[in-house]
Each structure stands twice: as structure tokens, then as C-alpha cells.
Subunit: 149 residues, 2 copies
Amino acid sequence: MDTIRAGHQEAGELTAADGLIQLSRLVQELHARTSERHDLTPVQAKLLCVLVLGPRGMAELAQGFGVERAALTGLVDRAERRGLVKRSPVPGDRRARHVMLTDAGRQAATAFHADATVELEHLLDPLAPRDRERFCNAMDEIINAGGHP
Amino acid sequence: MDTIRAGHQEAGELTAADGLIQLSRLVQELHARTSERHDLTPVQAKLLCVLVLGPRGMAELAQGFGVERAALTGLVDRAERRGLVKRSPVPGDRRARHVMLTDAGRQAATAFHADATVELEHLLDPLAPRDRERFCNAMDEIINAGGHP
DNA sequence: TATTGTTATACTCTATAACTATA
DNA sequence: TATAGTTATAGAGTATAACAATA
């Protein structure tokens, strides 16, 4: 085992790039496993979490997800078929539709989010309180820079 | 803009969970964009990076990727069709095949890896040298714990 | 004309199940 | 029997292009 871990050297000797890749892998795997436990695909879980904040238009969702509008149609179709979301007309613009959670969707979203949050926090358990705080501050700096130089 | 950022509050006020999710999103987006620049799918780029370390069996790769053997067959089929990898017999076991890089595949792998590494390192540019070192150490701790309590 | 959303089509990635060939 | 790999089939997620309805 451990045959496949690109860039792996000794424990505690990782490149910054490798560290970021492997940390991201941990987060994605955790997200995938948690979604599966809640009988959701990872993308559906993401959709539900966004819709908890309120109804959204298709174009708005597509832009936020970084996918084409056509891809979002399929995504919402499948979520709607599973009874998680519904489409409703937008007063004042007869072209547009709002996507919103059904009751079942809201329940699923809440349960998933709570579970995922707990699991993610556990990732930081190995850090001492002080280091954990520093780590979160560093993440904030990186995220707020947002890859923009 | 910024309409869709679950858990977003004020700049510099993110939950640990939200921070991990958004950092992971940055890394994944960067990986996707870099793959695209090199005319690779993200999964193909990952495959090439693993194969730089040497030939691997199908079962070995499937296990390392956390996917079924059948899924890997398709993955290698497509990479082979694009001339990136090739299959070869394994001396001593006539059931097995080794997957290895072609010359084009090795070139693509090297170019991609160099590019991705640079981009990933840039993510940490906002951190002061000392903070950057602490951040990398923290990532190491998290990864070496590996989500295992 | 521009925007919102959909349909049609195709490709990648993945899983499950059934199969072949070898160990 | 067990293992290595493949084929067949199905579904999710995505893109592009063409379309309808409305603004």
C-alpha cells in the first residue's frame, strides 16, 4: 500500500503543492462519502447547500457552479425527479424559473450539512488549538486572495 | 457576484469546515484549468502523474484511485487512444498487463506537473514565509493523520 | 437583439454484473 | 477457487449547438 502517492517522500516531508493536492483529496473524499451516506451525489449535496440560502435562478446557479446552463438543466431535472427541489415561476419575468428546496430537500440539506461540518472539523483534530487557529487564519488569507495575484 | 458562497460571512470569518471546502475548491479548479491547458482531463492528468513513477498494473491503479477495475479499463482505453499510455504484458503472469507512459505521455506528464506545481505554490503567496512554513507543517499533520482518528 | 431556459447529441467517468483467461 | 482484466449496460455530469419564449 502507499504505492500510489505521487510525490510522497518521508512522513512530514511534503512539498507545498503535494500538501495542497493531498489535503484537497481528503476533503473531496470526505465530501463524497458523506454525500453517499445521505443518498446524494456530491453535486446534489452542493446544490442543496446553496439552495438553503434561498431560491436561485438557473443562470445564477450555473454561473455559481461554473457550468453551462444546459448542464444545470440536467442537474435540476435529476434533483427534481428525486423530490429534492422544485421549479417555480418568477413574478415579473416569464422566461425565468426559480429553483427552490422541497421539504424533503430542506431536510436532506440540513442533515447533510450538519454531518459534513462535523466530519470536516475532525480533520483538524490533529492540530493543537493554537496551530488550528493559525491554520484557519492562513486558509482565510489564501481564500480571500482567491488565487488572484 | 458572490451570491453563491455557502457559509460566506465577512472576509476573514470562515468556519474551519467552510475554509477546508473553499480551499479544496480552489485547488480543484486550479487542477481542472491546468489540465485543460494541457489538453488533458483532470483524471488523465492524475493518471499520468502516477505513471511517471513507473509502470503499474490495472488492479494496482484501480485500488490507488479508489475506483473499480472496470472503470480503470475505460480510463486507460481513452488515454491509450490519445497515445498517452500503452499496455504491455507482465513477464511471469499472463493475466496481468502493465500500464506505462508513451513518450508523448511522459512529455505531457512532465509539462503538466511542472505547470501545476507552480500554480499550486502561488496559492500560498499571500502567506508570510513563517506562516507558510507553519501552514505546510499543519497540512502534513493533517495528511499523516489521514482522517483516521 | 439579448437573455432565460430547454432539447439534442456526444463524451468522460463511474458502478454493477457477467464473462475470459490464467494462477 | 481466486485473481487480472475485459465487456456490457446504465447513470451522472459536462460541453456544444440549435431552439423557443420572453425581454
